[in-house]
Symmetry: C2
């Protein structure tokens, strides 16, 4: 059997045991809440891993790109929510997917976008399936649940022959919710926003069979989701240092890491130099605003055990600089040229996106079980 010592570095490792644990945790948490899990593909970007998230073969799923939609559809998943406000230039592709049998649902948050969808609906004789995006916390996109615009959008869709299916929201601010109570409050905020919006739409005579919320922090801490039909989440499949930093997971639940080699040293600076630069880790520095700044990542030994407080302090394209955090004056451990290390990422979505495949491992074993391809780009 090949082992990690047979690989060229850098390489993206996926600990299958941790990944399955993370998937089971989410399903177990949601089961008593009476909601469907609509797994978000954006982190794993791989149909086999999405099946592991769902514990089922065919969905439903959320995608962040139409390429993810194509990959899921090719593997038999047909219930697909494309959860980025629709750009008019993507409507022909969405229609083509639907014509081939994918039940793609799109989202929008303005009368202008509803008009564009309405025009495409008339031209293609495809009503599309549309959710209105609700703003639960001022984080990003969406229309306020108590706004006049909500009803204007619904009426625009109805007048143009497009098909309104319901509402969705994403509490992006939950990524900064550092306590279980704060995450529960964010979950209640998501729920209350979409339930209010759905009630207003129904009272105005519109259909609203999908009431969708989600983010990893709110999903894992939700306690009461009356009125919600489904939960979307993605990053929990791997977890990462940002999630660990706010208490959503522990560091030893993080399922992906980047395997790197020591290629040199600068002893006078306390630097260990590796062949894992920002190209393999991404430039994400999500923990820089947290209580503990993990720099570019936590450095572990080949078995995945964090190494005596070493971090990847900085990086250039294909070089990583590993050392002690600021203020820690202890000498670095001896790690000769050729030593293999695993680096845990700030943000799983960004680090995984730097790689075209996962190398599957399990726990501390160096045995390579296999590889799984990713569906990157657009």
């Amino acid at each position: 059997m090949p082992t990690l010592r047979d690989l060229e570095t850098p390489a993206l490792l996926l600990d299958m045991a941790r990944m399955h644990h993370n998937c089971a945790r989410m399903r177990t948490h949601l089961a008593p809440l009476g909601v469907t899990l609509r797994a978000h593909v954006k982190t794993a970007k791989s149909a086999p891993l999405v099946r592991a998230m769902l514990g089922a073969a065919t969905g439903p799923v959320t995608v962040s790109t139409l390429r993810e939609a194509e990959a899921c559809f090719a593997e038999g998943m047909t219930d697909i929510l494309y959860a980025v406000g629709i750009a008019p230039n993507k409507l022909p592709h969405v229609h083509d997917l639907r014509r081939r049998g994918a039940k793609v649902i799109i989202i929008l948050d303005s009368v202008a976008a509803a008009q564009a969808v309405g025009e495409a609906a008339r031209a293609s004789r495809d009503p599309f399936d549309v959710l209105i995006e609700i703003d639960a916390d001022g984080h990003r996109a969406g229309v306020a649940p108590d706004s006049a615009a909500l009803l204007d959008i619904a009426r625009t869709l109805k007048d143009s022959g497009a098909r309104l299916r319901g509402v969705m929201t994403h509490a992006g601010e939950s990524y900064y919710a550092r306590t279980p109570d704060a995450r529960r409050a964010a979950s209640h905020g998501e729920r209350d926003a979409v339930v209010l919006a759905a009630g207003r739409l129904r009272a105005d005579g519109h259909n609203c069979d999908i009431v969708s919320v989600g983010s990893t922090p709110t999903a894992l801490f939700a306690d009461e989701l009356t009125g919600v039909t489904e939960v979307r989440a993605g990053v929990y499949v791997f977890q990462d240092l940002v999630m660990a930093g706010i208490g959503v997971c522990t560091v030893d639940e993080i399922a992906i890491s980047v395997l790197v080699s020591v290629i040199g040293h600068q002893p006078s600076k306390g630097w260990i130099i590796t062949d894992g630069g920002w190209m393999s880790m991404s430039r994400d520095r999500g923990t820089s605003v947290q209580a503990i700044d993990q720099s570019y990542g936590v450095v572990c030994d080949l078995a995945g055990k964090p190494l005596d407080d070493l971090a990847m302090l900085s990086g250039s394209q294909e070089h990583g600089i590993v050392g002690r955090r600021k203020g820690d004056t202890r000498p670095v451990p001896e790690l000769p040229v050729g030593t293999l290390l695993r680096v845990l990422p700030n943000h799983a979505c960004a680090t995984a996106a730097a790689h075209e495949r996962y190398v599957q491992v399990e726990g501390a074993s160096p045995v390579v079980i296999g590889t799984i391809a990713r569906v990157n780009n657009w």
Copy 2:
């Protein structure tokens, strides 16, 4: 002919006229200095674009990954410097490339790495070709040019039957050199470091036919390179906001941009929301330490003209938030849903790496000339 309006967004655009201008500028600058340009593939990651950099078909080239080496070799380029300190796990691949006819040169900066290469040389009966990496400015890797270690490494290579070809350095600190004088000084520092090291190696009886320096800021501002045989540079092919921020280029010389669509608005916040998030721009924030922080990028109209001081202020995975910079209280211009924008990147290497291909355009024309594939990953 297809135009930018026929694309799905986000998409990476390459202005061929600007790219050719940047390539000509570098060749014109280096021509009187009596050095060879060894184009760095790390930015363009595409053999056709490397040919444009060289103004020639077959090299020499510098690569940051062995996959770049494979792609260049497949296109007839055989003189290839792999400019990341060699990890022992890559020596079989390097040997295999060499066995097939690629004259791959590797680098190292320690006796330990020289011993690993020596062992591989004996086992494979391939002497390899080796440069010793010199530290010119304390930026990253390399051995000091006046150190005892320099000669120890050379002797270790000689004793093991490996072939020393010379020395190389990279003045990474030049990325922070904000004046022409500072960049010339950095170039002199690169030159002096490798010329000193080469002199000491020759005096100790070692071959040193390659004396290699390079970075875009030092290459474009070098004025005297006696003793240097070749210059490596990569980012100049596209340029970017970091290079513009230190004065190496102007904003209107930047050859790549990301085409995005407006998908919504948050008028109360002055936000225009696009479908270009950090996934398409990268998380690189290189200008954050410069005099003008360009956030995630400068926002231009469809013709590539900067739009009234708009910047991409932040992003999530597939969403960009465009607005005015901090302190600028003017209202944002009206950009309806579906409006196409071009966003100029902080760091060309990082932004281009988020995409699998370039869409070729020229100047302000919306006509799509064609596409060029990239060679990403490892």
